[in-house]
Amino acid sequence: MTEQTENPALFSPLTLRNMTVKNRVMMSPMCMYSAQDLDGTPNDFHVVHIGSRALGGAGLVCTEMTQISPEGRISLGDAGIWDDKHIEPWKRVVDFVHGHTDAKIAIQLGHAGRKGCDPLTWERGTPLAKELHWEMVAPSAIPFGPNSNTPREMNQADIAKVREDFVSAAKRADQAGFDMIELHCGHGYLLSTFISPLSNQRTDSYGGDIKGRMKFPLEVFHAVRAVWPENKPISARISAIDWIEGGNEISDGIIVAELFREAGLDILDVSSGNITHVRRPDVQGLFQTPFSEEIKKHIDIPTITVGNIATATQANDVITSGRADICAIGKGHLYDPFWTHHAARALEHDEGWPKQYPAAKAFNPNP
């Protein structure tokens, strides 16, 4: 057996366009609500948060949902890339990852749509002061939930502006040196609200059947693809199902995947739900991996699976059995920034440690 075949599948590389990730672990995008001065600018916190997880061995780290416009924010603490002033601070994060680790770094571009005007997550008890609210937009004037503001239905000019904001954000992301873009098309945020029939009741070409509802996300994808360097991949996160009667089902998720694949998407990040205030059921275990598996059964597209992946064995089994191509680890990475190094140890795989940490490589935690 060659050394290559002895590696656990989780520690095999994956190439998307010109980007090769050294293993199949990604730090999932997670909102940190920690932008400097509440103006979207990443700071030391983001360098340490993302940098330590890149040092921790994840092959791919992804920023939190980073907003393409101020009105696309969930909260004032969101990270942003709507202004040129955001490029340099993001470049600092990217340079750390590229300079001190062999991880790749993606940026998740998003627009919160009707899920905006939230307080910071740890201030949820107190609604955001009215004077700090902004006008939210969505495909239809339907609020996220009973306690949410009603968004304004987007007109043609709004649609054009959001598309352009995604394009400008993508250009800035390239200038900052990111290796991949992930378009956030899930969880009830703006692009997601176009895809779900629960939030999109438009009668123009952007509504109707799943193809109509996918028109705007695909327009955004094509516009971003046109300015994003040819050699760099693009991912999209979707809610494969809505978990609500009358919402998208897995058959719709499969069509979404097919449309994205035809459009040239490189990898699909398969999540689910969070479309309305009715939360997805609290399911234990790898509750979303079946959606990734189902999509891969029908559509030839690489996928990322996410949701409750806790142990090295779980993640390795997912990759070994081909249920997904990358495992996105969220909470596990919050709990343990060195999740990947520790997973390697659990799988008895001798993977690389940062050169600054040779003593950690030799360390035996259970002598």
Partner: protein, 369 residues
């Protein structure tokens, strides 16, 4: 609270002068070889900052050279220039702004072990990277090992200049808002070479008896204590024994502890050996230096830090509970797991609140990964 409604020993705070250290476990000072001309950078912010978020009560920056000739390699961190203050302050601002941790830095001079290059490049074709080609100094003109250059014996006239460098470095450490400084008087570096009779063959007032060999370290301590703010503590790392005859023994170390105690040192960081080549066992048993910390703590009545093979929560609780040492320092284990203390709290059932950003980590059920 722990399972029996008691705070586990390692999670009990410790006060040194006005400094409250929130728990008894620290990240040991570890050379990272990532500085440029002595300046810290984002690497140090991430390396140290993630351990502060990870719950280490005391986070040690690495040995910072008091002068460029005191560096192990050209990639060493430093405190010999005013321009070193700002990058260190950035690290300190992160640690203080995002955690309860105390931040320490070691002041050092590598002496006859200087200019040996970046650790992981030694013996490779790139081995010269980081070797600056500067002359070295020591207590006596005896090389550490044959392949190292022979140092020049520090002259008596050099002493005030050297002390001044420690003083200036300490002032910069204060300006950078470090909470503790530790004088690195161990492991065969410059001041350690004075303390050990194996490397100090001087016949002036800085050589001979243990008192004489301690003359320079004590002079440095007094001068630094003079400028270091009254309310901030000072530590010193020593090699408690040389692991070689006729070198220093643990009995000598107890005497060293008494001398430092009399001078007002706040805590002694008890390591051992590396004073001569091969002067430390190749196989380091778990906790092999803890008995030295305990002996000094009991014999000299001075708080101590235990270091060396410290990696086990139960063992650390025992060390603190039994009074073998006041603080446990983790090196390798701290590199291996930046969130060690958060995971230790989970295993002990101790409620150690997570930063706001990481609250959902509190719902994670081990095993992770």
């Amino acid at each position: 609270m722990g399972k029996n409604n008691q705070v586990p020993p390692i999670f009990r705070p410790l006060k040194l002068r006005d400094l409250k250290i929130p728990n008894r476990v620290g990240l040991s000072p570890l050379c990272m070889y990532q500085a440029r001309e002595g300046h810290a950078n984002d690497f140090h912010t991430v390396h140290l900052g993630s351990r502060a978020i990870g719950g280490f009560g005391l986070v040690f920056a690495e040995m910072a050279a008091v002068c460029p000739e005191g560096r192990i390699s050209t990639r060493d961190a430093g405190l010999w220039l005013d321009s070193h203050i700002e990058p260190w302050k950035k690290v300190a601002d992160f640690v203080h702004g995002r955690s309860e941790s105390a931040l320490a830095i070691q002041l050092g001079h590598a002496g006859r072990k200087a200019d040996t290059g970046v650790r992981w490049l030694r013996g490779t074709p790139e081995g010269q990277e980081g070797a600056g080609g500067f002359p070295t100094i020591a207590a006596s003109a005896i090389p550490f090992v044959e392949k190292y250059k022979t140092p020049r014996a520090l002259s008596r006239e050099d002493v005030p200049t050297l002390i001044h460098k420690y003083v200036e470095a300490a002032k910069r450490a204060d300006a950078a808002t470090f909470d503790i400084i530790e004088l690195h008087f161990a492991h065969g570096y410059l001041i350690s070479s004075f303390i050990s009779p194996l490397s100090n063959k001087r016949n002036d007032e800085f050589g001979g008896s243990l008192e004489a060999r301690m003359e320079l370290p004590i002079q440095i301590f007094r001068a630094v204590r003079e400028v270091w703010p009254e309310n901030k503590p000072i530590s010193s790392r020593i090699s408690a024994l040389d692991w070689e005859n006729p070198g220093n023994t643990i009995e000598d170390a107890v005497e060293i502890g008494k001398m430092f105690k009399a001078e007002g040192l706040d805590i002694l960081d008890v390591s051992s050996g590396m004073v001569t080549h091969g002067g430390r066992p190749d196989i380091e048993p778990k906790l092999f230096q803890v008995p030295f910390a305990r002996k000094i703590r009991e014999g000299a009545n001075i708080p101590t830090m235990a270091v060396g093979g410290v990696q086990d929560t139960d063992a650390m609780n025992k060390i603190v509970e039994e009074g073998a040492a006041d603080i446990c320092l983790m090196g390798r284990a701290g590199l291996y797991n930046p969130y060690f203390m958060r995971h230790a709290a989970r295993n002990l059932g101790y409620d150690f609140s997570w930063p706001d950003e990481y609250v959902s980590a509190s719902t994670v059920e081990p095993p992770v990964p």
